[in-house]
Symmetry: C2
Subunit: 286 residues, 2 copies
């Protein structure tokens, strides 16, 4: 399926109709934009229950993209298609309002319509902080790390980085999902991210799995990566919505400290080397 | 159906989650935003044929909102859901690219996904010109006018202002549509609009029919309107995507000249008076 989506974007590019696509968000002046569709039957099922959590996820995905570029989410444009058979339109609006407010986001426009299924298209607008963080900027000798919540009493095992691939597959197969998984309830740590962003040379939000993101980073930065950790679920799991950072060696200790202070481990898993990264496994859903 | 949509937005407002909603677009710094969903089965049917024209309409609706505020469309964020059974993804991308380029718009982001039906969510970003044009600013004694393409040899009768209500109803009933109607192929006259915008005190894009827009303008401006022209289709027809202007009496002649120069008639149809406007007929689709 990914191929058709890729082809679509590729064609838009070839026609010279695009500008600035390639990072988690696009930058115009002091504003950063991130858009995502969240469609019933594609990204979620109403049968999974707890719609508010699912809508929160839609927001988190975009919030995550804005923070990934070292910007602060401020405004949102929201297009909602409410299903004809859906009785709780008012509650839906209340939930959306609460999620927006909790995340410091004001709804400034959009569209509401009545249709077959519940579809949400969200455009988040962030304001940039001191410096923006891009996917480009990694040099040979830099290290890559991902963030993992520290195993502590308050964290379920299912919150561990790399478990989402299991949760997603089981959700799609059995129409049920572990409510503790980060796939269902991603968590954002804006304070930590904004602090870590300043130490990093480059960064991105992990959405399609680290093995896929490495391919993107390799192309943009014209480098290869030496993997320093045994490959496992952490390498393939999609939709983690955790940051992947590129750091100079001298910055690693400071970054690890910042992560620890926020109950996270910064796991260094690769080093940038000369060469071209070979994508050895296809995307999980192809 | 409109009631559920209204209720949804009303609830978001009551929850204090919105900001700046009420004009054709919302303003942040020098940028103006307009968002609209264009959903298969809700706004169009693939059976109507000529998909490119239908997508062009989706762009026009938003372009129209941007021009209505006296801004220039510059960028777009586009979320497209491509149906699984849809083979012409590449052509769709080419069409979208062409429409964007023809209208001076660069695609800066969005999302592409595969689903059941063809859905498009578009956010257009415009840059403001000298002054912005709002819905607010009408005083007692000002006149309202709408634009109508001048009957000339090159214009089909179906292009006349007020005919869209017929085209829309027949399209929904018979799955067929007159390709000459402005409902199917709205036309934009940016040069004329940007010139007229400077003469107007207030303005808005007519989307739900003049009788509905008067209700909105009445509330915002705390005035009533005396209708100067016999009510007919021109009064009720939705989706005209023509500008409604409020003008001082002294500006009417100049505005009429600008319209004529661009092969349009500026039809003066109401005068702002003291009082509160009573909406006497419900929306066409309720």
């Amino acid at each position: 399926m990914l191929d058709r989506e890729k082809q679509f974007i590729q064609t838009l590019r070839e026609c010279g109709a695009t500008f600035g696509i390639g990072d988690d968000g696009v930058v115009l002046d002091r504003f950063i934009y991130a858009s995502d569709g969240f469609f019933e039957g594609v990204h979620f099922k109403r049968q999974w229950g707890d719609l508010k959590r699912q809508i929160a996820k839609c927001f988190y995905v975009n919030l995550s993209d804005i923070y990934a570029m070292n910007a602060i989410p401020k405004y949102a444009l929201l297009t909602v298609c409410i299903p004809r058979d859906f009785k709780e339109g008012k509650n839906l609006a209340k939930d959306i309002a609460q999620i927006a407010k909790q995340n410091g986001v004001l709804l400034v426009g959009g569209d509401t319509l009545i249709g077959d299924k519940l579809h949400i298209s969200l455009t988040l607008i962030g304001e940039k902080c001191k410096k923006l963080l891009y996917r480009k900027g990694i040099k040979i000798g830099d290290y890559l790390g991902y963030l993992e919540p520290k195993s502590a009493l308050h964290l379920a095992k299912s919150q561990k980085f790399g478990k989402n691939i299991r949760h997603l597959k089981s959700a799609l197969r059995f129409n049920a999902i572990s409510k503790n998984s980060r796939f269902f309830t991603p968590k954002l740590y804006p304070k930590m991210l904004l602090e870590l962003n300043l130490e990093a040379k480059a960064g991105m939000d992990i959405s399609d799995g680290i093995f896929m993101e490495l391919s993107r980073l390799s192309k943009i930065n014209r480098i290869d990566f030496k993997i320093l950790k045994k490959k496992g679920e952490w390498f393939y799991s999609p939709e983690e919505y955790q940051m992947l950072y590129a750091l100079r060696k001298q910055k690693i200790q400071k970054a690890k400290k910042i992560a620890l202070k926020n109950r996270h481990n910064l796991v260094i898993f690769a080093k940038a080397i000369r060469g071209k990264y070979q994508l050895k496994r296809r995307n999980w859903h192809s």
